[in-house]
Every structure is written in C-alpha cells, then in structure tokens.
Subunit: 470 residues, 2 copies
C-alpha cells in the first residue's frame, strides 16, 4: 500500500471482514470503487494487502471471499514436550495477587493498592512531562539515570521517612573517596538477581514467586520481633549460605516489624559469615504507626543489597525500583542486568523520579498514611466482630496486609473457595511461606477497592469459617 | 516534616549544605527564622530532617555544622569476592552499541537509530494519551494486553509489510479451535528466555550479549543466502540442540537475507530434529529494497518462536516486544516471564500499540525507508571511494548496518582505537560472531546522527586502515 486512500480502504475492509462469516463474498471491485470513491488500482492494492494477510481469497472469475478455515485438524504441538524437557527448576504457580476478579467481588487478595490510594495527579503529570521530554526518545545509561543532585546526598540515610528517594546512579562517598552507587531498574529481576548473588539464599518472608533459578531456599523462623540471631547463625553455619533475604519492615508473612536493635544483631551475624543481606523494603511508603527505617542505613561494609520498588506506591504502570549495593556485587548485578535486558525505559525512570521529587509526593504520603490506618482499623474491627476465631495478635504498624491465623484444623483451600463463591476473594497465606506454613494463615489486603464493603466481607469470611469445620 | 514551609527550608538548606565544606557552620536558628520568615519550630524541623539524613550535626551550646567526613579509611568490600564466587557463566563484556560518546564524534557504532529516524510525533502523542488513560495507573494481564480486535486476525500473516503488529495476547485460530497466543513484553529477557527453551542453542547471527545462562552456543556457518540446510542438519545431529536462533532478514553479522525457499528448508530440518527456530525479526521495520517476510508466517506446527522488538523502530524508551509462540512452549515462556518480573508496564504496552496502529505509522515507515536508503547509499559510496581495500559485496537490502570485510591482516583493535582518536566511532564485527569471526569485519551503522559526516568518516577510516598495515 503506497497511499493513504488505500490504507483507509484496507482498514475499513479489514473491519468488515472481522465481522463477516468465513466464505462471505466481498463487494465487487466496481462496487468498492464507487463506495470509497477511489481508483480501481487503489482498491486492488487494499484487496492485495488483505489477501497477503490471509484474510480474504480471490477466486478468479468468481469473486473475492472471506477466507474459510484452513484445516479442521488441530495443530499437534506434542513434539514440543520433548524439546522443552522438564523445567530446570519447578515453575512457581502464578501468584494469587495477580488474579483479576469480577468487578463486584470484595477484594482482599490483591498485592497492589487500589487506584484511590495512588498519587494519580502526580503520576499523570509526570508521565505527560516525560512524554514531552528527552526521555521519550532516548536511551538512559545502563546503570540508571544520574539523580537530580539534591535527591540523594552522601551520608544521607537512604529511603528516610522524609521521603528522599535513592534513585542515584552515582553517589560519591566523600569520606571514602570511593564511588558508592546504586541503580534504577525493574523490580522483579532486580530483587531476584540480587538474591542470586550466590547459589544459596536463606529466606525469611519469601517472595511470593519462589526463588530464582538455581537458588536453594532455606527457611529461617521468625517471630513478631524478627528472626532470632541464633537461628540465622545456625542456618548460615549449616548451609554455607551467602545471602539472607529479609523484609525487616511489615514482612510477608505475618506483617511483623523487627524490634529495635535486631537489625544490628542480624548484620553482625551476616558479617561474621561473609554473607549478604538482601533487604526488600517493599512497604517503605506504607508506614502507619511506625516509620520503616532501612537496615541499609546502618551498613558500612557493603553487606546490604537494598531494594525499593515504586510499583506499589507510585503506580503499577511505573515498573521501577532502586537497588543500592556497594562493592564488587554492584558490578555483578549490573552485568546480569545488562545481559538480561540491556537497560530500563528512561521514560519510566524519569516519571518515577519526577513523582517522588514533587512536593506533592510528601503530601500524598501523609494522606496515604491516614487512609491506610482507617482501612486497617476498619478491617480489623470487622474481623474481630465477625471472625472471632481468628487470631489477630499483631495489628501491623505498616504495610498493606492483615495476617489472620485461623484454627489449625481449617481447610484453607475450601475456605478460599467458599469465600470466592460468596464474592469475597481472599489469599491463603501458604504461598508466602518458603516451606510449610507455621499455621493456617490468610492474608487480607486492606488496600483494595471499596473499603466500605469490609464489614460485609468479614461477615462472609466468618460464615465460611464457621461452615468450614462442619 | 509536617508542613510545606519546613519542606521548603529543608530543601534550601540541603542545597546550601551540598555546596559547603565539611565542618562549615550553619546560620543560627535565629538567623534562619529571619531569613525564611518561619517559626523557630518550623526551622527546627528542617534541621532535624537534615540531621536525620546525616548531613549536619548539632553540637549543643556551640552550633550546627555540616557533617565532617566520618572516616578516612576506604570501605573494604573484599569479603564480597568470596561471597560472590565466580560467575556461573562468564559475564559478557558490555556491548559497544550501548556506548555513549562525545557529541562531536561521528557515530558508526550505535545499535539504535538516531532520533531523526523515530516517529517522534506519534510517540509523544501516544505517550501523552497513555498518561491520560487507564494504562497509567493499572496493571495489565501478565500475558500482555488483548489487542485491538483489528490489529491481528486469525490467519493473518504476522508482521507483514502492511504493518500489522502481532501485539495480541490471544489469537484464536478458528481453524484449529485452539488458542494461538502471543504476548507483549520486554525484548531483552523475552528473546533470551525463549532461547533458553533448552540447554543448548545453535546460534547463527549471535546476539551481541552472548547466550543466556546455561545455554551452550554452537556456531553454524552462513553465507549470503543464509545457512546451508546440511550444516544445520549436521549441527542438530552432532549436538542434540533443541533450538536454532536465527535472523533470516538482515542478520548480524554480515547483513544477509535468506534466499527465497531457504526458510522452508531450514524449517524442515528443525522439524525433523524436533527443534525450535527462534526467529529474531529485529529489523522488521527496516526493509529498504526488500520486505522482510517472517519465517513464522510459514509455520503451522509451533516450530517458530517469533520475536519482534519495537525498541529500535518506535523509541528506545518504549521497551516492548512481541513474542509469538504456540503450544506448551508458550506456557513455559510465560512462566519464566512471570517469575522474572511479574508483568510489563501497561503504559508502555498501550503506547506501543497506539503508535503502530496509527495511520501515521505507515507514513513514517515509508519515509524511513527512503531515509535509510539514502544513508546506506551515501555511506557505501563514501566507503568505496575512501576505503577501497574494504570488501562490500552485499549491499544490505534492509537493516541498519553495512558490514565491511577488511584485509585479513588488519589489526582491528588498533583500527578501532585509531578511528576513535580521530573522532570516528566504529565497532569491530567481532562481538557479533558466536565464535572466531570469519574475517576482519567492521560494522558501520548508518542510522546514527549526522549522516552528512559520512564522507568525512569514511575518509578517516580509510586513513586509519592505510596506517594500520605500516
């Protein structure tokens, strides 16, 4: 097709064909010429393009027809089973947090906050600015964009409650005279690659998708104050693990926040074993009655690989996270990252930086804190009223989830199913435990749509639980 | 900080501290109160926030100071070397195509077209629309977005020159009554994961970054008409490889396009060996005197894993590609993809689809074709005039690169260095060969900035080559 008129006819006919039955006859060229007020050559070009796409076929002397089905025999892809062999490691089932459900259901399963909780105005403005700027058409450095000078400063606490964002590609440590650098990139691969720094990871608060290829996960128990340093020490000694994946703030499972001082103890243990701590600060922007202070702020020896994603707090469309890591590990991660996908869209990086450096971001975070508090408290009250059998010992000081421990005899899959049948979507806690769950937990996310339905949702969960034992 | 006034003072002081020497004394609270016309409480809040970031320190009774360096001893990250161990596979050196060079140099090395060749207006408009739409704040399905109904139709040729884009998440094969699905996602991981369908890949036209972890690459020779089916047959038989990575159109290295009929022959060979063909249609939008017809259009048995990235032709900021794959391999790839990074930004997906479904996209592609032709021809003419020793047998029928074979005695690293010293950046062809290069090749990209400098660039290459033998 070499002209717009032909394109126009092509598009119109394609739409017509889409709605037509196989074998239907197209109008004649003469009719099309009249209808579209175009030359026969132009019409022919459009028809040829449709034929080239296999949408129509021409039977000389008869006419042009919507192409009939090619064969009645289904394709046999069985040979692929041999070629693919077994997966190198079992593929994790897809996470329930990614499930889309009917619009009228009550959602407690999502891992992503509802749009009401996102800084919509800031996000749209940042994206619109990015669309007009250089980032829309250029390629950023592979290690991430240099930060605006004021965003991160040497010696500054990273991810402090004041809201500074560690988005820098190059941080000069004036004291050491050495580069202290971080990168901006996609969260998924980032976190998982970081954890793959060695072949073995000790895991607490498992990532819902399981471990990266070739990483053996070794569970470590944790109480409401975090893991016991003696347990961590034993796990390192027994396994020779070189990395410990942790969520010190509002961890999954259980929602716990490490006790003051616990971070330093665990850092000491890791240092003694020459191991990394991979800190997933997933809920950095979701403090409610406490401020999540990253472990990384107390690390001077490059022990902590710090990950902070903006996917949940800025927008699910802005798939950007920061990784802060110092020393040779940084080069290793950058190398893997470059081999995986060269670089990350500069447009998303620019928009992310824009959002978190606006004064409005601080205002948003303050309002978000109030909203999360109301939602959490409403859900907790509703649960206490309607699901008295549930243990809700730790009202989380931040994050997005209530973790309920149900009676040990609970048939969780049945409970999840019964709730879904009644229009309430809940997630069994099972998928967040790296091994057997420590009890019959469910995780209720209080950042989904329609918090007004929480009492009704709790009532339905209570009924389903009561029926569960019968 | 709980109010904007305090934030404002914080930001101003942070900037001041950034320019101040360690140990410098800050103005007194009284002075700051006067300067910023704020209450003492507000000023104190700002100072506390700066102290919390480690930027300043307060010495009671003395004053407040820019924090001195903490230690003179550089951090010792040596322990990491033990924890990281050797990489599981050697990390590939970073590609020369990603290098940023001084603005006044003549670029022949880039892998990405200059902004002049991108559909700037369409990209900015699409991103602006996406910023206003749902995609800015919502999460797309993990397998990619459902395509607008008219974009891809059952039976339609994929990636046909008419410009249809296989961006569909679900294509119903009416004939088979079976889903025939593709996904939209990031190009880097997509291609590499697809190739990882088995532990061994036969590679022709190597991806510049080398193979994915755990994949052994086996080179197969290829002439100007593509690989000899007998060579491919032998490689499959000898290695038990289950995948063959190919660029049938304008391959790297050499720029060759497979002869008519060659694709069917290679498909037959792959079918006999129960192997995949991973088709990287990297230059689909860059046909000059031919139209790249994908191999995938002739595949009914799910043999071809088809990859088409829009990074080069739409915008480097829109990191989106389509993968078309049928049968169990699709589930395997989706599983890996979900485990890697859950999903791909819906904003980028929406913008990509928007661009390639605009009527202006066809207009742009036509204009691009003319521009690429002029650039290619100007560069070829310049090379023939100034670098007579170079063999330029195959003027490429599409793509972005001229492949020059230089005399076998050429010291390529020296040539690259000498050219760079004279302000001309070229890439040795070496990095695109999966094994030893078949000759002393250089790759000259004719889509970089400032094509008017091609004659001058060619002259400098000619001089450097003449000096190379001495």
């Amino acid at each position: 097709m070499n002209n717009d008129s032909s394109s126009r006819i092509f598009a119109a006919l394609r739409q017509w064909v889409a709605g037509a039955a196989p074998g239907a006859r197209l109008p004649s060229t003469r009719q099309l010429v009249a209808e579209y007020q175009a030359s026969p050559v132009t019409v022919q070009k459009a028809l040829q393009a449709l034929a080239a796409q296999g949408l129509i076929e021409s039977r000389p002397g008869v006419g042009t027809f919507v192409r009939a089905v090619r064969t009645a025999r289904p394709s046999d892809y069985g040979w692929q089973t041999g070629a693919l062999r077994s997966p190198a490691s079992p593929l994790p089932p897809s996470s329930s947090t990614m499930r889309n459900v009917p619009g009228d259901a009550i959602w407690f399963h999502s891992g992503y906050p509802d749009r009401d909780l996102l800084p919509e105005r800031l996000v749209r403005a940042a994206l619109a600015r990015a669309a007009r700027g250089d980032a829309a058409l250029s390629r950023p450095p592979a290690a991430g964009m240099p930060e605006p000078a004021a965003v991160v400063r040497p010696g500054a606490g990273i991810g402090n409650p004041g809201g500074d964002y560690p988005a820098n590609a190059e941080r000069r440590d004036r004291a050491a005279g050495k580069p202290e650098r971080a990168q901006l990139h996609l969260p998924g691969p980032g976190g998982r690659r970081a954890a793959a720094a060695d072949r073995i990871a000790v895991v607490l608060g498992c990532h819902p998708c399981g471990g990266p290829d070739g990483v053996r996960l070794v569970p470590v128990p944790a109480g409401p104050d975090g893991p016991d340093p003696a347990d961590v020490d034993r796990a390192f000694a027994e396994t020779g693990a070189r990395a410990f994946y942790v969520q010190p703030n509002y961890s999954n499972p259980t929602g716990a926040q490490w006790a003051p001082g616990r971070g330093d103890e665990i850092l000491d243990v890791a240092r003694r074993h020459g191991a990394f701590l991979v800190e997933d600060d997933w809920a950095h922007d979701f403090g409610i009655t406490s401020d999540p202070v990253p472990l990384a702020t107390r690390d001077d020896s490059g022990q902590v690989v710090y990950i902070r994603s903006l996917t949940k707090s800025v927008s699910t469309a802005i798939r950007i996270a920061a990784v802060i890591v110092r020393g040779p590990a940084r080069e290793r991660i950058l190398g893997h990252r470059a081999a995986e996908s060269m670089y990350v869209s500069g447009l998303l990086q620019a928009a992310a930086l824009d959002v978190v450096t606006q004064p409005g971001w601080q205002t948003h975070l303050r309002s978000l804190r109030h909203q999360l508090r109301s939602r959490r408290d409403l859900l907790a009250t509703s649960i206490r009223q309607h699901v008295p059998e549930a243990h809700l010992d730790n009202l989380p000081r931040g994050g997005l989830n209530l973790w309920l421990r149900l009676p040990d005899t609970t048939d969780l899959p049945r409970l999840v199913r019964d709730c879904a049948d009644a229009g309430v979507i809940i997630a069994a806690g099972t998928e967040w435990f790296p091994a057997e769950p420590a009890g019959a937990f469910i995780r209720l996310n209080y950042s989904g749509p329609n918090p007004g339905a929480y009492p009704e949702g709790a009532r339905i969960i209570g009924e389903a639980l009561a029926a569960n034992g019968r």
